[in-house]
Symmetry: C2
Subunit: 246 residues, 2 copies
DNA sequence: AAAATAGTGTCTGTCAGACAGTATTCT
DNA sequence: AGAATACTGTCTGACAGACACTATTTT
C-alpha cells in the first residue's frame, strides 16, 4: 500500500481504477483427452469479443464474495454445479490493453474436476458452455482477451505439476483404480508410464485409501481407492522421468 | 469476463469496485542472513496501520504502468534503485476485510537482488525504508494488512525453489565464486550443503560462464562466474536432498 | 482354453551423498 | 612451514526404469 497519506495516486471517483475480475481454468479428462471448459460470449450488445469463446469468469461481486477464492468457487459452481473441486491460484494478468474497455486485471484460478460430477450450466443458456479438447482449442480457436495465454500457462503448470504430484487423482471420480489413475497420468502427460514404477510410487506415497469393494470396468477387477485428503495433492520426492522433462 | 451484456454486476460509478494494488517482496542476502525490504507507514493522516512496517507497494498508476509487472518494477526501482532484478509473480491476495477501507486485492511479486546493488530510497524519507532479517521479522514484528501471510508465502516459495533451481545466483553481485554461491544456498536453506555435490551440480547445469579473472576474498583465490542468462533461473533435474525436504 | 487385464518380482545403470585426498594461496 | 581454503577423486547405497513373470477374471 501507499506510504504517503492522501497520495495523488490514491484511486477514487476522480481517479481511474482498473477493472478487476476473476477467471477460472477448469480442466477435466473426458473421452481420453484433457479438456477445458469454455463459455461463449454474447454476440449482441456492446460487449467486447462477441461470439468468442472465453474462460468462465467475471467481475467480483463485493457483496457476495468474501475473498478472491470464494469468487472463483462461485463461478465454478455456477457453470458446472461442482462445489468441491481442486482449486489453486494460477496467477494474475493485468495491463492497459488486455480489455478494450480499459485497464483491467484478472485473478486466475485453475480447477480440476471429474467430468462425471459435472452438470453443465443448468437452465438458461446451456448451449454456450462446453468442453473443448486442449489440443484442439490451442490449435484452432481464437479466444477472447488474453485467454489463450492464460490457458497456455495453466496447461504448463498442470503438466509440470503432474510430473511430481498426485494432482491427476482430482480428475477422477471416487472410487478409482490404479490403472484408471495411470491412464489419466498418461493422458495429461501425453506419454506412456511404466506400470510397476507407477504402482510403487503411488502406494508408497500414502495418499490413497483402499476402499473395500473393487470395480470391474475391464476383465479382471481392480482394487478401488479414494483420496485420504482431498484438500491438497501429495508431492513426490522425485519427478517422473528425469530423462524426459526439464 | 461476464457473459451477459450489461450485467448488473458490471462495475461502474454506481457499483463498488475493489481497490487494486501491487506489492513486492524484495529479498537479499546481507550479513549472512536472508533479509526482506520493508517500508514504514505514516503515523499521521487517516491511513490504516499507522507506523506499521509493510511490504513496499501501492496502487496501480493506470497512466504510467502498462502492465502489472511494470508497476512492480517501478515500485522496486523507487525503493532500491535496482532496475534489473529477478522478478516473478507470487500470487494475489484479495478479500473484503484485508484493508479496513474496503474490498481490496493486491498483486504480489517477489524479487531477488544483490544487496550491493542497492541504494536505499534516495532523497525524501530514507529512514522509513530498511532491511529486516526474515527470521526476526517473522518472530517479532507485526506487519500491516496481511503482509505477514504474504511474506510467509514468499519465503516458502523461495525456499522450495532453491531446492531445485539456480535462484540464489540472483542474490549475488557478479562475478561470484562457487564457494560464495554455495554459501548463499546454505543461508537460504538454513543447512549445510556438500561441497563436491554442489560443484558438479552447478557446473553440469551449464548456466554459469567462467569470467577470466579470479577473486581473492579468502586464502586461495577462486574462479569467478557470471550468469549466462539473467532472465530466468535454471531448473535442476532433481531436488537437493531427497531425505530432508518434501 | 484363450484372452485380457491386474498386480508382483528382479535386475541393472545411474547418481546423489559422503568423505578423503590434492592443489594453491596467504601469513 | 603451517594454516586456510579451492577443488577433485572415489566409493557406496538407494532407487527409477525396464521387463519378465504370476494371478484373476471374462468370454
Amino acid at each position: 500500500m501507499r506510504t504517503k497519506p492522501l497520495s495523488p495516486k490514491r484511486p477514487g471517483p476522480e481517479f481511474p481504477v482498473p477493472y478487476t475480475s476473476v477467471d477460472v481454468v477448469i480442466f477435466t479428462v473426458l473421452e481420453d483427452a484433457l479438456q477445458v471448459l469454455l463459455v461463449q460470449r454474447p454476440g449482441d450488445g456492446d460487449e467486447p469479443f462477441p461470439d468468442c469463446w472465453a474462460l468462465p469468469g467475471g467481475f467480483i461481486d463485493t457483496v457476495v464474495d468474501a475473498t478472491l477464492e470464494d469468487c472463483a468457487r462461485r463461478k465454478l459452481k455456477d457453470k458446472t454445479g461442482v462445489s468441491s473441486p481442486y482449486l489453486e491460484q494460477l496467477g494474475s494478468w493485468g495491463s492497459a490493453t488486455r480489455d478494450p474497455r480499459g485497464w483491467s486485471a484478472t485473478h486466475v484460478y485453475f480447477a480440476l474436476i471429474p467430468s462425471k460430477d459435472v452438470v453443465l450450466a443448468r437452465g438458461a443458456n446451456a448451449a454456450d458452455v462446453a468442453w473443448f479438447s486442449i489440443d484442439k482449442v490451442l490449435r484452432e480457436s481464437r479466444l477472447a482477451f488474453d485467454h489463450r495465454d492464460i490457458l497456455q500457462a495453466a496447461l504448463e503448470r498442470l503438466r509440470s505439476k503432474v510430473e511430481y504430484t498426485s494432482l491427476p487423482a482430482f480428475l477422477l471420480p471416487e472410487p478409482f483404480t490404479l490403472p484408471q489413475l495411470q491412464h489419466v497420468y498418461e493422458v495429461v502427460l501425453g506419454r506412456a508410464v511404466d506400470k510397476s514404477g507407477f504402482r510403487t510410487r503411488m502406494l508408497s506415497a500414502q495418499f490413497l485409501e483402499e476402499v473395500g469393494y473393487t470395480d470391474g470396468e475391464s476383465n479382471r477387477p481392480a482394487k478401488g481407492f479414494r483420496l485420504a485428503n482431498r484438500s491438497a495433492p501429495v508431492v513426490f520426492p522425485r519427478t517422473f522421468s528425469p530423462r524426459g522433462g526439464n
